[in-house]
């Protein structure tokens, strides 16, 4: 078990290195292929009409005058052992893990990430609770009565949930429940400050996100349950004389939900890397919003930071899912 985790961790670190290398490559090499020079890159961070000396100075300050592999090495070094930044009159020590300074607004990336993570975490976890409850319940009831009125309407709603874009549902929910009816607030408050306010402002984003996901989970649960309830071991459970509810929950659901663990782990991993659209629509200052802004401003260090964080969550959740799977399904062996 321990050696398994160690091996997986090593593999994860290699994977993350590859991810950052690819991000670096996309950021530097692709524009280069399109004919963009480091000068032009640097110029984006200077005011109007820069002199060649300005460009050279900025390039040197951002390290853009170095070959790409040196920049990459510096970046990795910063994460492992920290880095020192020249602020002008003084230098500042950026402790490991140091993700560098934003090119655009000169803010240190790591505190930005850690500051934003609770927002994204709140959003993802809250929404996950809702969609698991809603999606699984709807899926189970649908599966037990396939073709019934409930099944048809639930799956219809699910289809709509998947098809409706967040831009629509989110905005609509905001307009109706926040602006018109003024039930919900719009300014995020940390849980530690005021839990009820926290829940109040996050309720709409949770619901909007959960609508999307519960639709998917309802369909997954439904098909999983339909399949499981035809399994031989369900017949055995019934042959024992178990009550039908116990058959469904203890025997059916347990087996049907296991594959969902994988999907759920991946979804949470991806969401922790930033629920881009939801955060944008609801003005939540999470990881996803940071990603969007960094990309639109060509700001490499935050892009790298977000990419790395997102990749970390995906890799991490993958590992968690595998470990969890091994405890849920005794047939699975970790090797």
């Amino acid at each position: 078990m321990i050696s398994y985790i160690i091996r997986r961790t090593i593999a994860a670190v290699i994977l993350l290195l590859v991810v950052t290398a690819v991000t670096f490559g996309i950021f530097f090499i692709l524009p280069k292929l399109a004919g963009q020079t480091a000068d032009q890159l640097a110029q984006q961070y200077i005011g109007k009409n820069p002199t060649p000396a300005d460009i050279a100075a900025v390039k040197a300050n951002l390290g853009l005058d170095q070959p790409v592999y040196v920049q990459y090495w510096e970046f990795i070094k910063g994460i492992v052992s920290g880095a020192t930044y020249d602020l002008g009159p003084t230098t500042v020590q950026c402790n490991a893990p140091c993700f560098g300074y934003s090119f655009k607004d000169h803010l240190e990336v790591w505190p930005q990430l850690t500051q934003r993570l609770p927002v994204t975490l709140s959003l993802a976890v809250g929404a996950a609770v809702l969609w698991l409850l809603g999606g699984i319940a709807a899926g189970v009831v649908s599966a037990l009565k396939p073709g019934s009125f409930f099944d048809r309407s639930a799956m219809g709603v699910a289809l709509a949930g998947v098809s409706l874009p967040m831009f629509f549902t989110g905005q609509l929910a905001l307009l109706l429940f926040s602006y018109k009816l003024e039930i919900f607030g719009r300014t995020y408050v940390p849980f530690t400050e005021n839990p009820s306010q926290w829940a109040n402002t996050l309720f709409l984003p949770w619901c909007s996100l959960a609508l999307l996901y519960s639709a998917i989970y309802a369909r997954l649960t439904r098909s999983g349950m339909l399949e499981t309830m035809n399994e031989d071991f369900i017949r055995t459970a019934r042959a024992k004389g178990l009550r039908e509810r116990k058959v469904v929950v203890r025997h059916g659901l347990r087996a049907a939900l296991t594959p969902l663990v994988t999907v759920f782990g991946m979804d949470i991993g991806l969401l922790l890397g930033g629920a881009v659209i939801t955060e944008t629509v609801f003005s939540l200052h999470g990881i996803g919003e940071y990603a969007v802004q960094s990309i639109t401003t060509n700001d490499l260090p935050p892009i790298l930071g977000v990419t790395l964080l997102a990749a970390f969550f995906v890799v991490f959740m993958n590992l968690v899912v595998d470990l969890l799977y091994a405890t849920i399904d005794p047939r699975v062996r970790l090797s």
């Binding site: 599966a143 037990l144 009565k145 396939p146 339909l226 309830m229 035809n230 399994e231 031989d232 071991f233 369900i234 017949r235 055995t236 459970a237 019934r238 042959a239 024992k240 004389g241 178990l242 009550r243 039908e244 025997h251 347990r254 087996a255 296991t258 849920i328 399904d329 005794p330 047939r331």
Partner: protein
């Protein structure tokens, strides 16, 4: 088409209908039909038999002959699950004085596992992969016994020991996939017997096992039957399986009984051409390698469009022996041909005896 109702008062039934029988288990004119988009599937279409305690009945037939459906019908498992809403059952199933077809699902549920238990064909898929064997036996016990987990667990270990699982107190914590095929089936039997059922139904209990293990499992069932004194139904496609264990044999074809009788009669004086075919396809140790296993030629009948007349006629080599094309126009009645030996065949007694003696028996 005959109008059916769940209460079991089927049209055109004998006068006896409705009375509690003397036999421990009596099935009367059982019909199990499934309406589908393609038509009505008549899986079991008028089946009757009796079984006493301490006796073993072998139900033999090809897949799709209705033998498994019969067993599930007795257990009341058809009415459960998503497809349960669609089943149409009629007839009567009397178990120890209680009629099950008309009983409420909950009444049947309470009998299930306690008075009647079942062993399934593939113990790997029939046991839940996520729970330990012990856990599953404990569960089966506690459904019908209000005892704490510890007591139930002792009972499980006891049963595992009884069915011949070595180190039962350890193996009780193992998962089904950690057992060998034979051990798994033993565990399955332990699970079925945990409540001392009076009726045990074994649906192809040895099919998924290799030959040496098959014999062990059959021996185990036989021993346990003696010990517990229960009635046993063994369902199989292989006459060989029931040759030594069954008291009576019932041969099913196309959802109906084509021959029924004491085991010796079925083996030594079989009356129905389909039974002959089954005997011919039975593997036997004392037979030459070269000419063994002559399967019954042709396909099992459609259960939606059952052939008119005798359902076996398209595959029967003797279909043209009786006059007036009667095999294709008239359904043969189940007729007694000897003491407790019945068959449903248009062939005359003389023809059957002649064909058996001259054509079939020498080749077996």
């Amino acid at each position: 088409m005959t109008e059916l109702s769940k209460t079991g008062a089927a049209v055109g039934e004998p006068v006896r209908s409705g009375d509690a029988p003397d036999a421990f288990l009596e099935v009367r004119d059982l019909k199990v039909h499934f309406p589908t988009d393609d038509g009505l599937v008549k899986s079991v279409d008028g089946l009757s038999f009796q079984l006493e305690k301490g006796k073993t009945l072998g139900i033999v037939g090809e897949s799709g002959s209705g033998k498994s459906v019969t067993s599930l019908a007795i257990m009341g498992l058809h009415r459960l699950g998503a497809r349960g809403k669609n089943v149409r059952m009629s007839g009567e199933i009397w178990l120890d004085g209680k009629e099950l077809v008309s009983a409420s699902p909950d009444e049947v549920r309470r009998l299930r596992g306690r008075e009647m238990a079942m062993i399934f064909q593939d113990p790997l898929s029939a046991m839940h992969p996520y729970y330990t064997v012990g856990n599953q036996i404990v569960e089966a016990y506690r459904v019908h016994h209000d005892v704490d987990k510890k007591t139930a667990r002792r009972r499980a270990v006891e049963l595992l020991d009884r069915v011949g699982i070595p180190e039962p107190h350890k193996r009780v914590n193992a998962y089904p996939h950690e057992f060998s095929g034979g051990m798994r089936q033993r565990a399955m039997i332990a699970m079925a017997l945990v409540n001392n059922p009076e009726l045990l139904i074994a649906d192809e209990p040895t099919t998924a096992l290799d030959v040496t293990v098959q014999a062990q499992i059959l021996d185990l069932i036989r021993d346990l039957q003696k010990e517990f004194g229960s009635a046993v139904i063994i369902i199989t496609h292989d006459l060989g399986v029931v040759a030594e264990i069954a008291d009576d044999i019932l041969v099913m074809y196309g959802g109906r009984c084509v021959e029924r009788g004491p085991v010796d009669d079925i083996f030594y004086q079989p009356q129905h051409p389909y039974t002959w075919g089954l005997l011919g396809s039975m593997p036997r140790i004392d037979r030459e390698q070269t000419d063994r296993l002559i399967p019954v030629k042709g396909q099992p009948p459609s259960l939606i469009n059952v052939p008119s007349g005798c359902a076996f006629n398209p595959r029967c080599p003797y279909a043209d022996v009786p006059k007036d094309n009667v095999t294709r126009t008239e359904r043969p009645e189940l007729r007694e041909v000897g003491g407790r030996h019945f068959t449903a065949c248009h062939l005359s007694q003389e023809d059957r005896t002649r064909i058996w003696n001259e054509e079939i028996a020498p080749k077996l």
